[in-house]
Symmetry: none
Subunit: 129 residues, 4 copies
Amino acid sequence: MFLQIDFQNGLPIYEQVVRQVKFAIAGEDFKEGELVPSVREIARELAINPNTVARAFRQLQTDGVLQSVRGTGLAVAIGAAQRCRKDRVELIRARLTQVLSEAVQSRLDPDELRTIVERELSAVEPGKA
Amino acid sequence: MFLQIDFQNGLPIYEQVVRQVKFAIAGEDFKEGELVPSVREIARELAINPNTVARAFRQLQTDGVLQSVRGTGLAVAIGAAQRCRKDRVELIRARLTQVLSEAVQSRLDPDELRTIVERELSAVEPGKA
Amino acid sequence: MFLQIDFQNGLPIYEQVVRQVKFAIAGEDFKEGELVPSVREIARELAINPNTVARAFRQLQTDGVLQSVRGTGLAVAIGAAQRCRKDRVELIRARLTQVLSEAVQSRLDPDELRTIVERELSAVEPGKA
Amino acid sequence: MFLQIDFQNGLPIYEQVVRQVKFAIAGEDFKEGELVPSVREIARELAINPNTVARAFRQLQTDGVLQSVRGTGLAVAIGAAQRCRKDRVELIRARLTQVLSEAVQSRLDPDELRTIVERELSAVEPGKA
DNA sequence: GTGGTCTAGACCACG
DNA sequence: GTGGTCTAGACCACC
């Protein structure tokens, strides 16, 4: 299974499920038009209450990521993969902008910030000159 | 007054008070050894519940940033300014590292990330070549 | 075939089948005394579960619209066409009355309501002065 | 109290609460910026489970009608009254259009439809010529 | 089997 | 006191 819950970090379980399902859809682990695992199956897998999973799935429906197919299950909506990817990028961009703004406000050394940035980026661009 | 509360953003009010007091100490708006304003005064100023301010001050005492002066009030602890600066820097550095790690994991374009970084940093380094 | 299913709109599929069969009988697409297509045929045609069609047919029998012909199939009952027309008219009349009552209660402009009504009616009365 | 629940009509209780709260806001029974009654109070009043009320309120938050004020309660959002009025009008307009379209499709007599319409409208326009 | 709704009761953080 | 989260277990309609 793709999903993992961290019961320690304070984030609501249902939100972790929402995020991870969106991430799984973005990565095409769940494909558009196909059914996602049932509420009960996921609840069993993660050892959490089915209601908690149902709440996450309800959220995913209002977000337009899942669609209910009566008596059959929940299917990934058409266009959800692209939207999930876009949402995630937007979220990260916003957080990056905010933390940098706070860093500047706290007078952190710009060059030190650049060093941190390059250290992370180098992991993904090993061949870059 | 230095402090401002945002009732919308979901952050606990007492935590906003804690952070802002620490920030004020880091910036030497409150100087070491001097008394900070009373719980009642701050509560009145910010139009929040005195219990909330008291809770923030309790937190600041456990953090070793404020010290009770018997029968007088609460004073900024010696060495608090430097510690507050360091805490803030550490916090921001950790958050920056984390969000960059997630960005890389989501395959965001490294050059776009650099662009965001430079846009923020340019605000504070206008004279940089 | 006359029937079409909308899997999105939340209406139970078996009820959509019931309504459409009644509508087809009202419009004499299925004539009194003649056999309707078999459960299997309709299920194949609409790509739905035969159980669902069977349930719709059961409902149509209790409604007195279809009659079982032993060993042969299901036939449109005598008098069903007129009854279906009447049922449908009654249903629509009731819904119209209700939505208008709510509209009045919400203080919608009566003239705007009349405009909506005339816009729909003009489609069917092109020659009316 | 303003709210009433019909346990018979099949509509989910939480949805009835959502609609009625929106209607109450549209009618300014609950005013913008003020707190609505607490989850527990409404639950007690209507003799339903607090979770059910909480679910309705969660929906109202995602609809932008209510705003959570930490530790204090839920307040009517600014601009909610106008939005609630508009939503209700749109909803009714859509339903009216749809039922009329079905009526026309079923070949109901246009003049009978006009009669129904005028009968309802006359209740609110007694002085109209 | 599926999701959807509701209840009951518990625990938490916040003001 | 407030809302928010989670669990447990029940019942329903639908396929």
